[in-house]
């Protein structure tokens, strides 16, 4: 009888283990279900993200279109004023388009506002644009060239557009327009300091909270023209455009 009592106890424990086992399996299935749910939501977020991007592109396209029409209207305004006037307004039209072509590494900051457009020459319906590269080793130049060419050639009256980068010209951080500085800040990138001497250390205020309590993490950043800094006030890392100025030889 004692033995059967023990047997019953073993059986009871056995059933208990089985019950726990089923419980674990149940929970396991639950976790899997949740996991699938998370994945589903993740896909949903991704889908929406793509949708937002698509709309964003659409808005940009419309923006360019409006800009284009705007120029068109302006151009028609000027056409009464003789051929010289017409040439000028065509140039304005090109400039307006260049204000919409963003630097591929600085989305929302146009190549115009970065001070990279040097000269626009229009002969009949052909456009030749001379641009100034920021840093010599910038790998984005080919992309910028392509983007500028495509945007200009989208204008009705333009037959062809040649873009050339001149290494003979010197880009300085002073060439960045006020709008460019503002747009950089929105990206979390501080504009370059106003006073800088080659070789000196420098600092800028935080683009997020405007605190001057910042530290240089690495003067060399993700691209040749940017540095990495850290804000001690709002505890955000941020980037700054690296200052370059004309070098005076003593």
């Amino acid at each position: 009888m004692k033995l059967s009592g023990e047997q019953r106890e073993v059986e009871r424990q056995h059933r208990e283990v089985e019950r726990q086992h089923r419980e674990v399996e149940r929970r396991h299935r639950e976790v899997e279900r949740q996991h699938r749910e998370v994945e589903r939501r993740h896909r949903e977020v991704e889908r929406r993200h793509r949708e937002v991007e698509r709309r964003h592109r659409e808005v940009e396209r419309q923006h360019r279109e409006v800009e284009r029409r705007h120029c068109e209207v302006e151009r028609q305004h000027h056409t009464g004023g003789g051929s010289g006037m017409q040439g000028k307004s065509k140039e304005d039209e090109i400039l307006a388009i260049l204000r919409t072509v963003d630097d591929p590494e600085l989305p929302t900051v146009s190549v115009y506002d970065l001070g990279m457009v040097h000269e626009i020459k229009i002969v009949l319906n052909n456009v030749a644009i001379t641009m100034v590269p920021t840093f010599a080793g910038c790998p984005a130049l080919d992309f910028i060239e392509k983007d500028v060419k495509e945007a200009v050639e989208a204008l009705d009256w333009v037959d062809g557009c040649q873009v050339e980068f001149s290494f003979q010209l010197r880009w300085t951080t002073d060439s960045i327009t006020d709008k460019g500085r503002e747009n950089l800040k929105k990206l979390g990138i501080a504009a370059p300091p106003e006073t800088y001497q080659p070789g000196d250390s420098w600092t800028v205020s935080c683009p997020y909270c405007d605190s001057a309590y910042t530290s240089m993490e690495n003067v060399f950043g993700p691209t040749a023209c940017r540095s990495i800094l850290y804000c001690m006030e709002c505890r955000n890392p941020f980037e700054a455009m690296k200052p370059v100025v004309e070098y005076s030889i003593s």
Binding site: F135, A136, G137, Q168, P198, N218, V219, A224, K242, I249
Partner: protein
């Protein structure tokens, strides 16, 4: 003063002028190119992550400087810039021989026993020289070269400041760091000699006011280095590895050419 030459076509009118000019540009181009190649081998291997970011940025930018010089040579009728960088045989190369020296034992892909002290000394010595030459080039009679020198001078202070900081910190560090740096400085003293020279056409270069003379450049370089490096050998610099300005190179350049021309050689017609 020699007439200022504004374009490549103008330079080509005078054979003696353009020969000296091309020789000088080859030296500038090949120095930047080989230094950035050796720098690129450190990618992912630098002592810490921020150094990796900094060093690769410097290297990429330096490669961009080499491209500008090769483009000048292309304008002067020397052929395609890509081919000048990748397909020129060893004996046609004009870089200083110390700059082609391998980073250490082993290779980039397999067991890279690279030496950081060699890299710090080499890049510091080179960036000081580059600054001295660029400053002289801003007064060059060849305007396109003077313009490029001005542009590079706006970017290069960052490179020089970086390596100067490393030299300063390591020579003020512990005994191990000090002795490693000193050893590499003594070594460089025996091998860096040709870097400070301008090759067989040096007098023509000065005569045509393309760049200041070797003596002046050497003095400037030495003054700047003396101001930073605590102990320097007292004897003159030597050319222990040969003279790259005359196309005499080491087996290390052969190894470099083999690697950096690999992709180019696999399809010379490829378009990006």
């Amino acid at each position: 003063m020699t007439k200022r030459i504004e374009t490549a076509d103008e330079a080509k009118q005078d054979a003696a002028y353009s020969e000296a000019l091309k020789e000088l540009i080859y030296q500038m181009a090949d120095d930047d190119f080989i230094v950035s190649f050796r720098g690129s081998e450190w990618l992912g291997l630098a002592p810490h992550i921020e150094e990796d970011v900094a060093f690769s940025s410097i290297t990429q930018n330096t490669m961009g400087h080499a491209v500008m010089y090769y483009n000048l040579l292309e304008e002067l009728g020397e052929g395609d810039a890509d081919a000048l960088a990748h397909a020129r045989p060893l004996e046609k190369r004009r870089n200083a021989v110390y700059l082609e020296k391998q980073n250490g034992d082993g290779s980039y892909l397999k067991e890279p026993y690279f030496d950081w002290a060699l890299t710090v000394v080499r890049h510091y010595f080179y960036e000081v020289l580059k600054k001295v030459k660029l400053e002289a080039l801003t007064k060059s009679s060849y305007v396109p070269l003077a313009n490029i020198a001005q542009k590079v001078l706006m970017e290069q202070p960052y490179h020089l400041a970086h390596w100067k900081l490393w030299i300063r910190q390591l020579q003020n560090s512990n005994e191990d760091a000090k002795s490693r740096i000193n050893m590499r400085i003594v070594e460089a003293w025996k091998e860096f000699g040709d870097a400070l020279e301008l090759g067989t056409k040096s007098s023509e270069m000065v005569q045509h006011e393309l760049i200041a003379g070797e003596e002046f450049l050497q003095k400037q370089w030495l003054n700047e280095v003396k101001a930073t490096v605590m102990s320097l050998p007292t004897y003159p610099l030597e050319k222990g590895l040969g003279n790259g300005r005359n196309g005499k190179h080491s087996a290390d350049l052969k190894q470099a050419i083999k690697i950096f021309s690999e992709v180019y050689e696999s399809d010379r017609e490829a378009v990006w």
